[in-house]
């Protein structure tokens, strides 16, 4: 499943990042394979608010659905 499918309050482990320009930006932020994330909110339209290692970021639904995750 992808990050875009994560329900509110759900935890997940990043399994695979998409190829392309955002890959590097994810790595920089600390969103790497194996990183543990938690979904704080889902906004109408698909935007997701994530929490991971003391940070909060928001990303659009389309971007989130390019990131593969597994449920721990």
């Amino acid at each position: 499943m992808t990050l875009g499918d994560l329900r509110k309050g759900g935890n997940a482990l990043i399994q695979d990042l998409p190829e392309g320009e955002f890959r590097s930006q994810f790595i920089r932020l600390g969103l790497v394979k194996g990183a543990s994330v938690r979904c704080l909110h889902r906004l109408p339209g698909g935007t997701i608010v994530l929490e991971f290692s003391r940070q909060e970021i928001a990303l659009s639904g389309e971007l989130a659905s390019t990131i593969l995750v597994t449920i721990p």
Binding site: F22, R23, S24, Q25, V32, H41, R54, E56, A58, S60
Partner: protein, 675 residues
């Protein structure tokens, strides 16, 4: 770490001397992620005199100042050094030219911030690290072992709470002691081997990480991007290991964000909070500043005192006809007198005094009609000098200050990224993303100001879309007051129709541009900093800074615009344009002839346009048609000029003629349907 056999001479490599400066002074550059408090540090070091200019070839502003005997540069907040977007490209070049890099990091988010730190060290730069926000870290029970960090990184490290100026006194030592840090052996060796083709270790690293632009500067073939990934992941891992030794987390897994910050971006509370924030914004800027303050500053001080005295001064020495009208309470003219002074007021003081005494008998309006066309040009009804002065200082300045104050509050509190997150989806419909919310909000203040702010947006495409929407569909505060008044008279149905037409048009334009323009809008990926109470001196400084910058940029355009219009008026060309427009106005738009005057005047000053309609006693539907036309047509001459400046002549022309056509077409259609 092995010793370097090659002597590193400081030398500059950007392919063009991008930053004109004193070659004898060392360059200290502040680098860090957004929201780490970098600007506070910069302000502390820079003192009062700061020079802000555009990085050549971009619309990114960089701040430069003098710190002791160094040249100090601030860079845009970045997460890493590369070429992913304009901010990074600018920061990259400034860093490449830096002698010393002071990296500001957030103690609470070291796992994110140290990535950049490590990259700077890998670039072989002399680095000093400022670990800021120690107070926040303490609150969240995070302890950072600064000494261990210094040991691990190999560069000097200090801890600060910049907002309270704690620890900032240690910065000088940091700058002096900045040195190259611990670099990974294999990477370092590889970079060294590349030095013969590339000027510096820093550039070598960037090329290895896939930076095409830097590679092109040295005629090196493009390096496959997967090297970057390898280096990035390795760097990520190094930082993680380092963090294990440096961070002492007393309470792991604790919720670290404030409730407010969470709620502000939640689907349930986020939107009501947004509505509240927008309402408060409207109350402060739209009501208090735009109406109450401006009423005093523009009418009483601007026109009543300043303009009057300037005009009187000119009249005292030149041939003038002085016309005085006595105004009743209801605004009607009860009496008027006109006297001609062939050599100016000074030569005929008795007549002038007599006139003044007569004027005291009521509420008087003075008009100074100069005989010389040159004087009319500069000091007449649309006098370039008087009109620009009043408009800029007494109308625009309070508005701009108000808007930037509100914006700085939003920014400093950490709310702005949350706002962008909430509206992202909606803006996506018109081809923009959350970030565009800033120029759009500012547009309701002054479209000229907002057009300048479109520089913030990531891609040319977004800038085009945002600019077009601003110019076409967003009424500025100067207009809004009058529009609201006119709509109030016209009734609820008229208001509804007006709002619907404008909104529909806005969406239409955005959608069309979105599909027609090449490329895609960048998806949202935004960091949500902790929310906190805005620091007032930060906010005030930002407000003054940004307002000053805007006034500096926009003033010449307002002056030129006013001059142009004044020339048109004095030569009679203005009248001709209005006459030419009249048939369309009467026949197609089905409005009285005088509306043509209002439309043309709207170009001069937007509020003139709307106000001109006021006197025409239009029927409700006529009002809608007129207002639709006036809103859709490009705003005042100043914003027109700024648009040409920002988007270029060709694109500007497209937008301008397009809007003229659309405004008349849509206005006409509305009119034909309703009337």
């Amino acid at each position: 770490m092995h010793d370097l056999d090659i002597q590193h001479k400081p030398h500059r490599h950007t392919g063009k001397e991008a930053l004109p400066s004193d070659p004898l002074k060392q360059r200290v550059v502040l680098v860090g992620n957004p929201n780490v408090g970098k600007s506070v540090v910069f302000n502390y070091l820079s003192g009062l005199y700061v020079d802000v200019s555009n990085f050549p070839g971009t619309t990114i502003e960089i701040a430069k100042a003098t710190y002791l005997h160094y040249e100090l540069y601030d860079t845009p907040g970045i997460y890493g050094v590369s070429s992913f977007n304009d901010e990074e490209r600018v920061a990259r070049d400034i860093i490449l030219n830096a002698d010393i890099v002071i990296n500001v990091v957030d103690a609470v988010h070291l796992e994110r911030d140290l990535f950049l730190t490590q990259q700077l060290i890998d670039m072989g730069k002399r680095v000093g690290v400022v670990v800021n926000m120690l107070d926040e870290a303490k609150k969240r029970k995070i302890a950072v072992d600064l000494e261990m960090l210094e040991l691990e990184l190999g560069v000097p490290v200090i801890g600060t709470v910049a907002i309270r100026r704690d620890g900032l006194e240690k910065i000088h030592e940091l700058v002096v002691n900045a040195r190259e840090g611990k670099q990974q052996k294999e990477l370092h060796a590889e970079l060294h081997n590349m030095l013969s083709t590339l000027g510096s270790q820093a550039e070598a690293l960037l090329v290895l990480e896939g930076d095409q632009i830097v590679a092109d500067r040295h005629g090196v073939a493009h390096v496959h991007a997967s090297k970057r990934e390898e280096i990035y992941i390795d760097r990520r891992n190094r930082v993680n290991r380092l963090l294990d030794r440096v961070l002492v987390d007393v309470q792991v897994g604790k919720r670290f964000s404030s409730t407010l910050g969470r709620l502000a971006v939640s689907p349930l509370f986020g939107f009501p909070i947004l509505a509240l924030v927008l309402y408060v914004l409207y109350l402060f800027v739209g009501v208090f500043v735009a109406q109450d303050v401006v009423d005093i500053s523009e009418d009483v001080i601007g026109k009543g005192i300043v303009e009057f005295h300037i005009k009187q001064f000119v009249a005292s020495r030149a041939a003038t006809t002085v016309r005085i009208s006595l105004i009743e309470e209801d605004g009607q003219v009860s009496d008027s007198r006109a006297e001609f002074f062939p050599e100016g007021l000074e030569r005929n003081p008795s007549l002038w005094n007599e006139l003044r005494d007569w004027a005291e008998s009521g509420d008087a309006e003075y008009e100074f009609e100069y005989s010389s066309p040159w004087l009319i040009l500069f000091f007449g009804e649309f006098g370039a000098v008087t009109m620009t002065l009043t408009y800029l200082v007494f109308l625009l300045l309070p508005l701009v200050l108000g808007f930037y104050f509100a914006l700085s509050m939003l920014e400093d509190s950490g709310y702005l990224p949350r706002l962008a997150t909430l509206v992202d989806r909606v803006l996506r419909i018109i081809g923009l993303n959350g970030r565009a919310v800033i120029p759009l909000i500012l547009g309701f203040g002054c479209v000229t100001m907002a057009t300048i702010t479109t520089r913030l947006l990531g891609t040319q495409r977004e800038k085009t879309i945002a600019t077009t929407i601003l110019q076409l569909a967003i009424p500025c505060s100067a207009q809004l007051g009058v529009i609201a008044a006119l709509l109030a008279t016209a009734g609820a149905t008229a208001t509804l129709i007006y709002v619907c037409v404008i909104t529909a048009f806005l969406v239409l334009v955005g959608t069309v541009l979105n599909s027609k323009l090449p490329g895609e809008t960048s998806p949202l990926l935004i960091d949500l900093p902790a929310m906190r109470f805005p620091q007032m001196n930060n906010v005030v400084k930002k407000t003054l800074f940004k307002s000053w910058f805007f006034m500096k940029e926009a003033s010449p355009w307002f002056f030129i615009g006013a001059l142009l219009v004044s020339v048109l008026q004095v030569t009679g060309a203005l009248r001709h344009i209005m006459d030419a427009l009249a048939p369309i106005v009467v026949g197609w738009l089905q409005l009285p002839r005088e509306a043509a005057t209002a439309f043309v005047m709207g170009l001069v000053r937007r509020d003139f346009g709307a106000a001109g309609l006021y006197d025409l006693s239009l029927s409700p539907y006529q009002t809608v048609a007129a207002l639709v036309t006036i809103t859709l047509f490009v705003p005042c001459v100043a914003s027109l000029m700024v648009m040409f400046k920002e988007r270029g002549l060709r694109e500007g022309m497209y937008i301008w003629f397009g809007s003229l056509l659309l405004a008349l077409t849509v206005g006409g259609i509305v009119s034909q349907i309703l009337l």
